[in-house]
C-alpha cells in the first residue's frame, strides 16, 4: 500500500464516508430509532383526535404545532441517545480500537460518526414530515381550508432538523471524553435543555449562558404562525449560526478525543 493512498483530502473524505455509512447501518439496526420514529409518527397521526387539548387554536394549526413538537421532542431524544450509544458502544466494545489503529485520524472518526448520526436524523425528520404533510393535506381537503403555503411548512420542518442536529453535535462533544453511553446521553439531554431555555437567560450571574447556542431560535411553530416564508437573509444568518456552533462542537470534540487514551 503506497503511503500517498492514506493522505490527502480525498482519502480523508473516503474514510469519513465509510465511517458514516457504517454508523448509519448500525443505527438502523438498533430498536431505538425505530421505536422513536413509530411513536412520533403515531402521535402525528393521532393529532387529529387530540384536538380537544388545543386550547382554542384552529385544528390545522394544532395538528401542525403538535407534529412539529413531536419531531422536535423525539428528534432531540434520538439525537442525544443515538449519538451517545453509537459512539460509546464502539469504544466500550473495543471495536473503535481496530479503527483508530488504522490510518484513520481521530477527527475523521468523529466527523464520520457525526455524519452517520446526521443521516439518521435526516431520515427520521423526513419520515415524520411526510406523515405530518399527509395528515395536514387530508384535513385541509376535508375542511376546505389551508394552513400555510408549502414553503413555510418546509422551512418550519427544516428548522427542526437544524435544531436536532445541533443537539447531536453537543452530545458528540460530551461523548469525546465520556466514559459511558448513559452519562453521555444524560449530559447531552441536559445540554439540550439548557440550550432550549437559553432565551430566558437574563443578565447578572446568568449572562455567561449567552455563549451557549439558543435552540429557541429554531422555532418552526412561530414560523408557521406567521404564515409567510422567512426572508432569505434571516434563514442564511440562522444557517450560519447553526454551522458555527456545529463546527465549534465538532472541533472541541476532536480536540478532546485526540488526547483521549484507550
Amino acid at each position: 500500500m503506497s503511503d500517498t493512498a492514506h493522505h490527502g483530502p480525498a482519502a480523508s473524505l473516503r474514510r469519513i464516508r465509510l465511517i458514516a455509512g457504517h454508523t448509519l447501518g448500525a443505527a438502523l439496526h438498533q430498536r431505538l430509532a425505530l421505536l422513536l420514529a413509530i411513536t412520533g409518527a403515531a402521535l402525528v397521526l393521532g393529532a387529529r383526535w387530540l384536538r380537544d387539548f388545543n386550547f382554542g387554536a384552529a385544528e390545522l394549526k394544532f395538528i401542525a404545532d403538535f407534529g412539529l413538537g413531536a419531531i422536535g421532542f423525539f428528534g432531540t431524544l434520538l439525537a442525544a441517545l443515538a449519538t451517545a450509544q453509537l459512539f460509546c458502544s464502539e469504544i466500550e466494545s473495543r471495536a473503535a480500537d481496530c479503527v483508530l489503529t488504522r490510518p484513520v485520524r481521530r477527527w475523521e472518526y468523529l466527523t464520520g460518526k457525526f455524519a452517520g448520526v446526521v443521516a439518521l436524523l435526516t431520515l427520521f425528520v423526513l419520515t415524520l414530515v411526510i406523515v405530518l404533510g399527509v395528515v395536514l393535506a387530508v384535513r385541509e381537503s376535508q375542511l376546505g381550508a389551508t394552513l400555510a403555503p408549502l414553503p413555510v411548512f418546509l422551512q418550519a420542518c427544516a428548522l427542526q432538523w437544524l435544531k436536532i442536529t445541533l443537539v447531536a453535535a453537543m452530545t458528540l462533544f460530551v461523548c469525546s471524553y465520556a466514559g459511558s453511553a448513559l452519562f453521555a446521553s444524560c449530559a447531552g439531554l441536559l445540554l439540550a435543555l439548557v440550550a432550549q431555555l437559553r432565551g430566558f437567560a437574563g443578565g447578572g450571574s446568568w449572562a455567561w449562558l449567552r455563549v451557549w447556542p439558543d435552540l429557541g431560535l429554531f422555532d418552526g411553530e412561530a414560523l408557521l404562525a406567521a404564515g409567510h416564508p422567512a426572508s432569505g437573509g434571516w434563514l442564511l444568518s440562522l444557517a450560519g449560526y447553526w454551522a458555527a456552533y456545529v463546527l465549534l462542537f465538532v472541533a472541541l470534540a476532536s480536540y478532546a478525543f485526540k488526547r483521549r487514551e484507550f
Binding site: 474514510r15 448500525a26 471495536a95 481496530c98 487514551e261
Partner: protein, 257 residues
C-alpha cells in the same frame, strides 16, 4: 544489528506509563521504564498476570496511549504517528464487532479504512477469510458468531492490510483447545511470512511453543526477557513442558516482591 535503513521492528526506550490516582496526587504505574528491542520477523510473547502491563505495552505500540516518559518506535516511526499506523495491525482483548454486518462486510469496511479498494480489497478479504478459517461463515452476521469465530474475524481484520507488525492482546482468551491450536498455527504462519508478531497471553505453554522471544512482566516491571531456550536454560531438557516456565515465572515475580 538493525541500522537506520533497517531499524528495529519494535523499540522501547525507557518507556513508562503512569496514571494519576485522583485528588491525592499519587500515581499508578502501569508500566515502569521499559527498554526493549525486537528484530523484524520475530514473535514476541508478553507474559504476566492481570495488571502486569501487557495490555499497556501493546496499546503503546498501537498508539492508543502516549508515554509518560521515554519513547516507543515501530520500524523507526514514533508509535501512533500516521506512518506507524500504516504498519500495524491490532487485535484488542475480547472485542465485539458490528453485529449487523456479515464477516465479509465487516472486513470490506476495515479494508476501506486501510485504503484498500476495488479488486485488491476483494482479493485480500477472500484471502484472510480462507486463512482464518471463516470462509464458510463469511456471509453470516458477526452477531451470530461464536467467541472463537469472533476472535478469528478479529485476527483477520488485524492482518487484512498486510501490516509489518501484528499486535494481539490475549488472542487465546476464551478459545477452546482446538481454537488455540489453530491460533498457534496462524501466528507461526504470520512469522513464516516475515511479519513481526507481539502478543500477550496467560498461557505459558502457548507462548513457549510459538515465541522467538519471551518477556515476563509483573506489576509493570520487566522481570525477565530472552529466547525461551535462554530463559529456561539446560533445565528445559530435563523438565520439558510449561510447568518449568511457570516455575521460572513465579520465581521472578516473587523475587521482586
Amino acid at each position: 544489528m538493525p541500522s537506520a535503513e533497517a531499524p528495529w521492528a519494535v523499540e522501547f526506550a525507557a518507556f513508562a506509563k503512569s496514571y494519576p490516582t485522583g485528588w491525592t496526587g499519587g500515581r499508578i504505574h502501569a508500566l515502569r521504564p521499559l527498554t526493549l528491542q525486537l528484530a523484524a520477523g520475530q514473535v514476541l510473547g508478553l507474559l504476566g498476570p492481570n495488571g502486569s502491563g501487557k495490555s499497556t505495552t501493546l496499546k503503546a505500540l498501537a498508539g492508543l496511549i502516549a508515554p509518560t516518559e521515554g519513547t516507543c518506535r515501530i520500524f523507526g516511526q514514533a508509535a501512533g504517528s500516521d506512518a506507524a499506523r500504516t504498519l500495524v495491525g491490532y487485535l484488542p482483548e475480547a472485542p465485539q464487532f458490528s453485529p449487523h454486518q456479515t464477516g465479509r462486510e465487516f472486513l470490506h469496511y476495515c479494508a476501506g479504512l486501510s485504503s484498500l479498494g476495488g479488486a485488491t480489497a476483494t482479493r485480500r478479504v477472500d484471502e484472510v477469510l480462507r486463512w482464518s478459517g471463516l470462509g464458510e461463515a463469511a456471509e453470516r452476521k458477526v452477531g451470530t458468531y461464536s467467541k472463537g469465530m469472533t476472535q478469528r474475524v478479529g485476527l483477520a481484520q488485524a492482518v487484512l492490510h498486510e501490516p509489518r507488525l501484528v499486535l494481539l492482546d490475549e488472542p487465546a482468551g476464551g478459545l477452546d483447545p482446538e481454537g488455540r491450536l489453530a491460533l498457534n498455527r496462524l501466528i507461526r504462519d504470520l512469522a513464516a511470512r516475515g511479519t513481526t508478531v507481539v502478543f500477550s497471553s496467560h498461557l505459558l505453554a502457548q507462548a513457549e511453543e510459538v515465541c522467538d522471544r519471551l518477556v515476563l512482566l509483573g506489576r509493570g516491571r520487566l522481570l525477565a526477557e530472552g529466547a525461551p531456550a535462554e530463559l529456561l536454560g539446560a533445565e528445559r531438557d530435563a523438565n520439558p513442558g510449561p510447568s518449568r516456565l511457570e516455575k521460572l515465572y513465579l520465581e521472578k515475580l516473587h523475587a521482586h516482591e
